[in-house]
Amino acid sequence: MSIQQLYMEAQQLSSAKLRDDIVQQLYERSHRLCSEGIKYTKSKRDTRTEKLDAIFTSPIFGFPIMLTMLGVLFYLTIAGANIPSSMLAEFFGSMEKYLTAFFNFLNTPEWVHGVLVLGLYRGTTWVISVMLPPMAIFFPTFALLENYGYLPRVAFNMDRLFKRVGAHGKQSLTMAMGFGCNAAAVISTRIIESPRERMLAILTNNFVPCNGRWGTLIVLASLFMAANFTGGLKSLVTTGVIVGIVMFGIIVTFFVSWVLSKTALKGIPTHYTLELPPYRKPKIFDTVVRSSLTKSWSVLMRAVKVAAPAAILTWVFANIFIGDTSILMYAVEFLDPFGKLLGLDGYIMMAFILGLPANEIVLPILLMGYLSTGSLTEVDSLVDLKQIFLDHGWTWLTALNMMLFSLLHYPCGTTLLNIYKETKSKKWTFLAFLIPTVIAILVPLSITQTVRFFGWM
């Protein structure tokens, strides 16, 4: 007799209320165990969690508190990272002079200096100075919020919104995971029982910027969006822009979930119980050390590992000429008309294409592309950095478009791979690539065309 036949036989024997009976039996047994083995000596219960929840999940204060928390988190990151970032950039910039002098002293051929210093050294040090300080602040702070137990409350607050667009409330938990890493978040959608709602969570996860994109967003926002402000106000404006970008990503998540649940993934959201764990004071020192050392370090190493070869490759492509045009320029010129249409340019498009393996390297590749085109600027500080962008015709519109494209575009290679592993479907993996890409093209396109039409730019 095969297992299928047995299954059929079992189904004929079974009754509809069998599962209920089983669960009820489990509960009765648990109850009996507890009444035998446990004594309660204090009648007073700990009401701290209830009191805190009354505030954090309140219909009135819940959302404002959430937004404020998000704002404070970004403000700390942006304001705190400014100074260390420029210090690192200055340090690496001044080191470059010595390195160059050293290579001159050794009398190495020009291309060796080019590949190693102008390509490799600049690429990697740039990643470090721009990405390390924000990460070293963002990760520990986020981890503290998470370990204290605030994230499940966020899920609770967002639950109704997700229901309304036909998705599952637990999607907000997988979204929170996406702030760290979309690839990990795709796996974490396993907590969602219904395959339909799980698919929604997978397809929309990359609209939450992962840590590979924070660097890009923060740098561009602080260079271009708050250019007319100084000091604390500058950080405040930058924070506002970043919060706005994140909110926009969340709105797109809702919109796409809603459209999908009315079309390809039709259905009614299932009910579920969300446990709100008690607030527990995390081991603060442990959390800070762990998340800043291990997490920041591993993200940084990943960035450097991918950025280093990419840096060399970009430099080589920029310096191998076919006729009087380098390979890099052929690609850039080919992509340029399309990029211009979106308010971007060929370099940016190329950086996003080469950045498929990891979002961390998009900005470094872009910078290397710009630097490789002959005019060798010395990057001593973040001011010089802005100059490089300005030299290539950047405006606030370019920065905004690039931020939006970065927020909305296709997931990185690792995430796509995980989506395939989790869905085991080429069709859905392709859709997970296609849907964000189409949106990432449409949004900057319409913004750019509107701005140009009204002649604001």
């Binding site: 079992a10 069998l18 648990s30 035998e36 083995g37 137990g149």
Partner: protein, 231 residues
């Protein structure tokens, strides 16, 4: 590898399972206070009395009925990968709910340790747990620990060691169900036994088949092949 044993950690979300895992293995897996953050099976080693315990951190779940893929991953690991010991981590402050999962694990496998965590918090709240009575009722060792403060670890490791060496034998208590269900189980259990032998608990598989667990059906098919047994 006669000296290496696989120890699975199961439990509800937010019971401090990952904290225990980190504290024992010294690994720095990130721990957060919410459901769904253990996304893959993290593994780490503990050395104890010349033996290597390979700890596997299963996803936190409320039940093992394989409602979600998370539950399926945890369930499949316990049933098909057969760890040498399964440690079920419970939250001392909400035992009544947590025992559900423990009882389900006891139906599936034999070598189980019930590990009651957050015992320090429970004591503050005036919850006194008599682990002897519970051990007696459940037929497997019940141990109280505090993973945050690393309390009770020697006892836990010692018990694991004594189970793998056979010094303690677990006699997990079996759930009994209402008579009609018991009768149904009796009808198909012998046939299930013919099919799965001693590889799986025939009683448990029978119960799952009665419950209409298609995911388990597929899993058994995949693992055992389309083996036809002569009637």
């Amino acid at each position: 590898m006669g000296n290496s044993y696989r120890i699975a950690l199961a439990g509800n979300p937010n019971t401090g399972k990952s904290t225990l895992f980190n504290a024992l293995t010294g690994l720095r897996q990130h721990t957060g206070n919410w459901a769904g953050k253990t996304v893959s099976l993290a593994q780490g080693n503990v050395q104890y009395k010349g033996k290597t315990f390979n700890l596997i951190d299963l996803p936190g779940t409320y039940s093992l009925f394989s409602n979600s893929s998370d539950e399926e991953v945890a369930r499949n690991y316990i049933v098909f990968e057969k760890p040498d010991v399964t440690v079920v981590v419970l939250d001392a402050t909400s035992l009544e709910r947590n025992f559900n999962l423990a009882l389900q694990v006891l139906e599936m496998t034999k070598n189980v340790i019930i590990c009651i965590n957050l015992i320090d918090v429970a004591e503050k709240q005036g919850i006194n747990i008599n682990e002897r009575i519970l051990t007696n009722r459940l037929g497997v060792p019940v141990i109280k620990i505090s993973a945050r403060n690393k309390k009770g670890f020697p006892m836990l490791l010692d018990t694991i060691e004594r189970i793998v060496t056979g010094a303690i034998e677990c006699q997990p208590v079996q759930m009994t169900y209402p008579d009609d269900i018991e009768e149904q189980i009796k009808k198909i259990e012998p046939k299930v036994f013919e099919l799965v032998g001693n590889q799986l608990s025939a009683r448990w598989v029978s119960l799952r088949l009665l419950d209409g667990d298609e995911r388990l059906l597929n899993e058994i098919n995949q693992r055992f092949g389309q083996k036809e047994v002569a009637e």
